[in-house]
Symmetry: C2
Subunit: 109 residues, 2 copies
DNA sequence: ACCCTTAGTTACAAATTATTCCCTATCCAT
DNA sequence: ATGGATAGGGAATAATTTGTAACTAAGGGT
């Protein structure tokens, strides 16, 4: 995304700044392996194409990896790489902040 | 930015996702008060316009506040709100990750 | 009279991201 | 023969973000 970043934070942000990337990472922290359509179901507002793009970028960044089974119908499995796992503190901090401060969330009984 | 987010992480990301927002927050954590041009100097690649926009969005999000002194030439001071301060763990985690993993950074002696 | 400073704004162009809709391949079941 | 399931790809378009450059106000200094 960003060509170069003089600053550590910019760099981190450049890797996770896509609209769905942090959400994907979040899900993969909760369950280590997901198939494409399983992720899709977890993110109903994310179109198939966007999911595909975001996965591709995460993969390119080295945060996730995918395993393709040459079967019919196709089957792929996505999981975090070691690098991706190291992002856990960031994702966790963001999740916690959101839970603590997004009042619109889980308000109704 | 995002209209609504079903998920905590998306919400957090929506508030800090601008190109310079995390950097601004980062600087304000290090020094609690900055003037516009002081921030500008810390972020040479950020244009005046972008800085202005990002500050405005951070303010709208309630993460920073600004104090305007009605003097000539103008003087304004930016600082974190309480809400902004609560973002520290997120910013810190991102900074740490970037430092740990951005090899291009501080490589040469 | 003219320039400097600060903290912006405006207008416009360019680049990046996101959305929509439809298309592919292959095998299995009906 | 048709339709379904899975994991995408492609093209066109829309929306958003970012970049560039010039402009403003108001007072002080020379």
């Amino acid at each position: 995304m960003a060509k170069s970043s003089s600053c550590a934070i910019e760099y981190t942000l450049s890797l996770i700044a896509g609209k769905w990337k942090t959400v994907i990472l979040y899900h993969l922290f909760h369950q280590p392996v997901y198939r494409f359509n399983e992720l899709k179901k977890l993110m109903p507002d994310c179109s198939q194409r966007m999911l595909s793009l975001q996965l591709k970028e995460l993969e390119k960044a080295g945060l996730i990896q995918k395993k393709v089974y040459p079967v019919v119908p196709p089957k792929t499995e996505y999981s975090l790489t070691k690098l991706g796992q190291s992002m856990l503190p960031v994702i966790k901090a963001m999740d916690k902040w959101g839970l603590d401060h997004h009042n619109q969330l889980n308000k109704e009984p």
